[in-house]
């Protein structure tokens, strides 16, 4: 039934899965170690680190802060991303390729350069590092992804939909709100989840653009610089669970949505 190449590839796949999940599994496990030091062997187990996570105000603040920033930048990215996608649209106009390239730019610039240029930029426009700067930086980075996802879906919409709406008396705005947006909904859902994840996971921008209050990744980084401890594992595991759950829920949501809508 299975040819040797098939067996080899399947084995390779599962080996890679192990490679991907093993470190994460270790990290989760290590969070139950009853000791102040990270490392094997684990001789005693405890849940105190996890209890501590939920009581540590610094962690809770960072978590809430990160969530707030993620939501804010996602909303902004959605609006701007949709606007850019509708502007670029399936239509051809002179210079479209150039505009498209400029639009994709933030997604392809190396992270540290993007963050540093933003740092300089906000100084130049008189903004201080902090919440606003992080939200701006994240939004700028995420807009291309939203725009691309929306563009893709937009290309699948038959032209006659909007024409029919206009024929029946709708001006462009009403046609967009009542016909195009509902059609775009699955891609908007996917895009917003994607933005949330990107924002939640981001490090470089929060690091260089942040103010006094750290986001969760920045907090974990700072802790790691002073040494590893199971407390960090606990925090990291919570982050892992939240983001994995968010991602999975989103996948199921988009899958089901794409199934029922045309």
């Amino acid at each position: 039934m299975m040819r040797p190449s098939q067996i080899a590839l399947t084995t390779f796949y599962w080996a890679f899965i192990v490679y991907l999940f093993l470190p994460l599994a270790l990290m989760v496990v290590m969070g139950f170690k009853d000791s102040n030091f990270i490392g094997f062997p684990i001789n005693a187990w405890t849940t105190r680190w996890y209890v501590q996570v939920f009581q540590d105000t610094a962690v809770l603040h960072a978590f809430g802060y990160t969530l707030l920033i993620a939501i804010a930048s996602t909303l902004l990215s959605l609006v701007i991303g949709i606007w850019c996608a509708v502007f670029l649209g399936p239509a051809r106009f002179w210079g479209r390729a150039l505009v498209f390239a400029v639009m994709c730019l933030p997604a392809v610039i190396p992270g540290v350069i993007s963050a540093i240029s933003m740092r300089i930029f906000i100084r130049a426009i008189g903004m201080e590092p902090g919440t606003g700067a992080i939200i701006l930086g994240l939004t700028i980075h995420n807009v291309p992804f939203v725009a691309l996802m929306v563009l893709s879906r937009l290309g699948a919409m038959p032209r006659s939909q909007v024409e029919a709406a206009r024929d029946l008396g709708a001006d462009s705005l009403v046609a967009f709100l009542r016909v195009t947006l509902p059609f775009l909904f699955p891609s908007l859902l996917g895009a917003s989840i994607f933005c949330m994840l990107l924002s939640f996971d981001d490090f470089v921008r929060a690091f260089f653009l942040g103010g006094y209050q750290p986001t969760l990744p920045v907090l974990i980084f700072a802790e790691l610089r002073s040494g590893m401890s199971p407390a960090i594992n606990a925090i990291s595991t919570v982050v892992l669970v939240v983001t994995a759950a968010l991602g999975l829920w989103a996948e199921r949501g988009t899958r089901r949505l794409k199934g029922t809508r045309r």
């Binding site: 990290m27 300089i120 701006l136 260089f208 790691l224 990291s236 983001t243």
Partner: protein, 329 residues
């Protein structure tokens, strides 16, 4: 229901209260202020186009190009942020600085060499996976298997980097296993080396290689391979002469993405690497931790890195025989 008036404009909206309450859209479109605004702004294709274009272009050119241009501008100054009462002069000093000391050039070269190597390594690792997903699985299962691969990537670079640290530490999993198997009596210092850095980067960027590869392999129609087999090509030949060339776009996109992303990491090299593996990102960041005066140097170094990255990518794509097109698809 009465007929509308004889005018073809069809904007004779009859308001008859006994017809029932009017819905939101009805009220909106019947509102004279709205109709005026709509006629003014939305009635012609050209107006609509410019209405959309102006804010979008302002945003895109302002926020996508703005920071880069500002950075380049700063890189030519001799001091920034500006001190009161003093006009900064334009200078090339900051760029020359780069060439003057080995502790600037070395990380730079190292970054590019490392990134290139890790990119190729990632390509070699991910190609079989992508091939497996695209060619050896039924479409329904492809989604599931792909999803499984995606899950670890949602977690974020810091958490994943930390996880690698636990794997590779002196009392980490790998060492415990090796010692347990009797392959070594003392822990091997994996951490803070090129090996740990490489493992981390490959770990973090594999998805960016996988997805473009998968997308391009998936597009290759089955019957191309069937036709080749029909004409007498064995599996290796089929792979070499049909599959591989047709996946060129995916290889190009994947490599470019992984290369650019891996040169851009800051936290991972800091956490997983050591003094002997300092990457250029760290060098650049160093200029910004000192308050104020070293920004122009940092800006210059960033510009150098950006240019070098673009040139490298350009050369790579040229080598592959493609013009720079849509990188993400």
């Amino acid at each position: 229901m009465a007929t509308t008036s004889e005018r073809t404009g069809n904007d004779a909206a009859l308001i008859r209260p006994q017809d029932g309450t009017r819905g939101f859209w009805t009220r909106l479109t019947a509102n004279p202020a709205y109709r005026q605004a709509s006629d003014l702004l939305l009635s012609s294709d050209r107006r609509r186009f410019w209405l959309l274009a102006v804010p979008a272009l302002i945003w895109m050119f302002g926020t996508h190009l703005g920071p880069i241009l500002t950075m380049i501008r700063i890189s030519f100054m001799d001091s920034y942020p500006p001190t009161a009462g003093r006009i900064p002069e334009m200078t090339l000093e900051n760029y020359l600085l780069f060439f003057q000391a080995p502790n600037y050039i070395t990380p730079f070269v190292r970054t590019f060499v490392y990134s290139t190597c890790y990119t190729l390594l990632t390509l070699l690792l991910m190609y079989p996976i992508a091939y497996f997903l695209a060619k050896k699985l039924r479409p329904g299962r492809q989604m599931l298997f792909l999803l499984l691969l995606l899950v670890p990537f949602w977690v974020g670079e810091i958490v994943r980097t930390y996880a690698i640290m636990i794997l590779l530490g002196n009392r980490g999993f790998l060492n415990i296993v090796l010692m347990g198997l009797g392959l070594t009596s003392r822990p091997i210092p994996f951490m803070y080396t090129g090996f740990s850095l490489g493992m981390g980067l490959v770990y973090l960027t594999s998805l960016y290689m996988l997805l473009p590869l998968y997308a391009s392999l998936e597009k290759i129609p089955r019957n191309y391979l069937e036709a080749a087999a029909d004409l007498g090509a064995g599996s290796w030949t089929r792979f070499r002469r049909v599959t591989l060339p047709l996946s060129k776009d995916g290889i190009a996109s994947g490599c470019v993405l992984v290369f650019l992303i891996s040169t851009g990491y800051y936290a991972t090299p800091v956490l997983l690497g050591g003094p002997s593996t300092t990457v250029f990102a760290e060098t650049i960041a160093g200029f910004f931790h000192v308050a104020g005066d070293k920004w122009p140097e940092g800006a210059a170094f960033s510009t150098i890195m950006l240019l070098a990255s673009l040139v490298t990518v350009g050369l790579f794509l040229r080598l592959l025989g493609r013009r720079r097109g849509n990188l993400l698809g």
